[in-house]
């Protein structure tokens, strides 16, 4: 089946952007790796992996579980629960025929809502309708212990080992109050790698850092849905993205030479995600960083490696970057590969040049941390630091053309001079605007095409 499975994969390509020239004694090598998956298409049930030998029509290439917060606070205002039900119904309508799915209601404990027999249902017009009917059982009452929701989802997913693409959608409106943070962490450690999940916070009573931690661990996105009425549209787009995934468990493999050290590996587009601590060793001098599942999409990674210095005139392979897919039999398939080089030179014009891509994403990372630190300082009552940090963020967002973030910043601060980063805090900033800015601070823009030539 290997060849069949292969032909269903999207085509992966990598591009490396770097200045490979280092001055004498320099050791740090930076590169931006653009990974693009194409050709998989986003329609039709494509068999993947061991499930491929199942009979046509019975093929299930993906599994989705919707986890909906049903804590007591979802009734304040009551529109929240109603909108959550409606959004879940829209999401169910988006599930493709043949896809395995389930709905979980989450409070201080997790409860199966559909199909409710400890397994996953297979999407068809009949099961989708039955699932929507069962949403009436989504009623508010109880606390919040997200770890229990994830544990139940994990159990349900694992009833279908044959399905490789497993994705969860998690909706909450409050803090994880009925569970110790370390218990949630333990659950995340246990289930991460089993499935991916996008997380959404509705309203403004939830905690950005907490939700981001869950989304990061599960290689998904975290976002705010300030208005419950917007939930349906958001669920539809999340589900469409999930249905577009064609291959799961793709890892970024980074080989580095002896005595080199990987300083960091970050996803930098479409949003920032530090993967440095997610390394798992993969043979001599190589480590795998998880990237989750892929549809037709393109992402950028920033890899920073410290290599042993070599004399001027030497050339070294600082890193070999591969996209790898683990096979069922323990083997790995290399989907694409790129080389990060280091060349030591005494030509200052070469060694002092900074790759525009590396500079751009260094700026985007600084933008995100300025926003997070600025809002943190604001919460702590340190307005001076907050103003300075958000001023720096405004300058960076303006400089790098990140219009989305710039607009969100404008809702929190009055911009006096975007070039210099002169700002004043707005009076009566809404909690929703402040949380939206914080949640979306990790959203990056790519290098403008004209800059790529320079």
């Amino acid at each position: 089946m290997a060849s069949l499975a292969k032909s269903n994969l999207p085509r992966f390509t990598t591009e490396i952007f770097q200045n490979e020239y280092l001055a004498e004694g320099a050791r740090e090598v930076n590169a931006i790796v653009t990974v693009t998956a194409t050709g998989g298409g986003t329609t039709g049930g494509r068999p993947l992996g061991p499930g491929a030998d199942a009979a046509p029509g019975a093929v299930q290439d993906a599994a989705v579980i919707l986890m909906v917060d049903c804590s007591g606070s979802m009734d304040y205002p009551p529109t929240k629960m109603r909108n959550a039900r409606d959004a879940t119904a829209v999401a169910i309508d988006t599930i493709r025929d043949g896809v395995a799915f389930a709905v979980v209601a989450g409070t201080h404990e997790a409860r199966e809502v559909y199909p409710g027999d400890g397994s996953l249902a297979v999407a068809s017009p009949a099961t989708r309708e039955a699932a929507k009917q069962s949403l009436r059982k989504l009623t508010a009452g109880g606390g919040t212990a997200i770890g229990t929701w994830l544990t139940l989802a994990d159990k349900l997913f694992l009833t279908r080992h044959d399905i490789t693409i497993r994705h969860g959608i998690l909706l909450t409106d409050g803090r994880n109050e009925h569970e110790k943070p370390q218990d949630l962490q333990k659950t995340l450690d246990r289930v991460s790698g089993h499935f991916t999940a996008d997380c959404r916070g509705v309203g403004t009573d939830w905690e950005v850092a907490e939700l981001r931690k869950i989304a990061s661990a599960l290689l998904g996105t975290a976002d705010i849905v300030a208005e419950p009425a917007d939930l349906a549209e958001d669920f539809r787009s999340m589900m469409t993205a999930a249905m577009g995934k064609q291959v799961a468990d793709v890892a970024l493999r980074v080989w580095t030479p002896a005595n080199a050290r990987v300083k960091f590996v970050k996803q930098v587009a479409p949003d920032l995600e530090d993967l440095t601590q997610r390394r798992s060793e993969a043979g001599p001098r190589a480590g795998d960083y998880p990237t989750g599942s892929w549809g037709d999409e393109s992402r950028d990674y920033h890899v920073c490696v410290e290599v042993p210095s070599a004399a001027v005139g030497n050339e070294m392979l600082a890193a070999r970057i591969s996209l790898v897919l683990p096979g069922a039999d323990g083997s790995t398939e290399v989907l694409a590969q790129g080389l990060v080089r280091a060349v030591w030179t005494d030509d200052l014009a070469s060694s002092t040049r900074i790759s525009p891509q590396v500079a751009h994403y260094t700026g985007q990372a600084e933008l995100a941390s300025s926003i997070q630190e600025g809002l943190e300082a604001h919460r702590a009552g340190d307005v001076d630091t907050a103003t300075a940090k958000l001023g720096a963020a405004v300058r960076l967002a303006h400089q790098t053309g990140n219009e989305g973030t710039f607009k969100l910043l404008q809702k929190v601060v009055d911009v006096v001079d975007p070039k210099e980063g002169t700002v004043r805090f707005r009076k009566n900033v809404s909690e929703a605007d402040s949380m939206t800015l914080e949640t979306r601070s990790t959203k990056t823009v790519r290098v403008a095409a004209k800059k790529r030539e320079g």
Partner: protein
């Protein structure tokens, strides 16, 4: 380890092999004990071992799987030798690849007399793919020269035609669809080429690669530089704005004002022909050599006395000298032995190199002190 266990040569801590005798200074990788069971047998070592660390195997992409160092490329050191001459090209010490290239070939004129052709090119480092540019130019110029000479074309027009076709070939590289390297110009290189045939030596060039005439007799005959660089320094001196010392002390001295490449304004090939009256060698080289011995007389001191009979050895010695002097750039030298045949008479060329010794007949018309350009 502070000295080589083999020969006692002092060592640098970074050395992996002894500079003197080549003894490997790293412990040999442990040889696995023969395994009893077949399942524990290690796979046999495949592929070559890294020349830098001596421990890792070289991967498919040419880098060591252990230390990551690039392995020497075939172009790092190239030697070619034939009956009419020899050439050596070397990466040097400070550059990571050899961006010089040369061709050396022999043919015969329609009348049966032999002709030797040499072309030396130096890729411009600030341009994209300088190594490809130099190779393309050397190949194109060499091929064009051979074809023209075989068809009976005179050496000077053949030389101009060859440089023009090299220029076109390098310019075409910019349009071959390869993405340009950021911050780099279109592929570009210099060229210096020489033809030794029928008692006349013809030289053509663009840029700052040079040709020198080095007679066997260094006391009574005079070594000459035959080319004028297309360089900032030369321009300043020619315009009378600076003395030679001032010009060469300037940081811009070596900026070239002429090159082959898509973004060259107009390629003006310079040519010069001369008739040697005494035996000697014609030497064409890149600035990787002449930076260390600029004047013809200083360079002549470095050319082995037997250069005419053993041109390869002479070329190797010159390259070794430049490497020992620091090897800041790639070094390429071609040496063409020239043995005048007075019996067949002298060809009248613009530049007749004199023989100072009054006893040697016949004296040709007195030449200009500095070679003049034609074309």
């Amino acid at each position: 380890m502070t000295e080589c266990p083999g020969c006692g040569e002092p060592l640098d801590p970074a050395d992996v092999f002894c500079e003197n005798c080549g003894t490997s200074l790293v412990a040999a990788p442990p040889v696995p004990a023969p395994a009893a069971g077949a399942d524990s047998a290690l796979p046999p070592a495949a592929g070559p071992v890294c020349v830098h660390c001596g421990a890792g195997l070289v991967g498919g992409d040419g880098f060591c799987e252990a230390c990551g160092m690039a392995q020497p490329s075939p172009r790092d050191h190239v030697e070619r030798s034939l009956a009419g001459g020899a050439g050596v090209s070397d990466r040097g010490v400070r550059h990571h690849r050899n961006e010089d290239s040369f061709t050396l070939a022999a043919t015969s004129l329609p009348d049966g007399r032999p002709a030797v052709v040499a072309v030396v090119c130096d890729g411009v480092s600030s341009a994209s793919r300088p190594d490809e540019a130099s190779q393309t130019a050397a190949d194109a110029a060499g091929e064009a020269l051979l074809t023209a000479l075989e068809h009976g074309e005179a050496a000077e027009p053949a030389m101009r035609g060859a440089i023009a076709s090299a220029a076109a070939a390098v310019a075409a590289l910019a349009a071959d669809g390869t993405a340009p390297e950021p911050g780099h110009n279109s592929p570009a290189c210099t060229v210096v080429s020489a033809v030794a045939a029928a008692g006349v030596v013809t030289v053509g060039w663009v840029g700052d690669s040079r040709a020198y005439w080095i007679p066997d007799d260094r006391t009574d005959a005079e070594p000459y530089r035959l080319t004028e660089d297309d360089s900032w320094a030369t321009g300043m001196i020619a315009a009378g704005l600076m003395t030679e010392a001032e010009a060469y002390a300037d940081a811009r001295a070596h900026a070239i004002t002429g090159w082959l490449g898509a973004d060259a304004d107009e390629v003006v090939p310079h040519t010069v022909a001369f008739t040697p009256h005494v035996p000697g060698v014609l030497l064409i080289c890149t600035d990787g050599l002449w930076n260390y011995a600029e004047a013809a007389t200083s360079l002549a001191d470095l050319v082995r006395a037997d250069a005419r009979t053993d041109p390869l050895r002479a070329a190797r010695a010159l390259v070794a000298f430049a490497v020992a002097a620091g090897g800041h750039d790639n070094i390429t030298v071609a040496v063409l032995p020239v043995q005048p045949d007075p019996a067949s008479g002298w060809v009248d060329t613009v530049l007749d190199l004199p023989v100072i010794k009054p006893t040697v007949p016949p004296m040709p018309s007195f030449p200009p002190a500095v070679p003049t350009e034609q074309g």
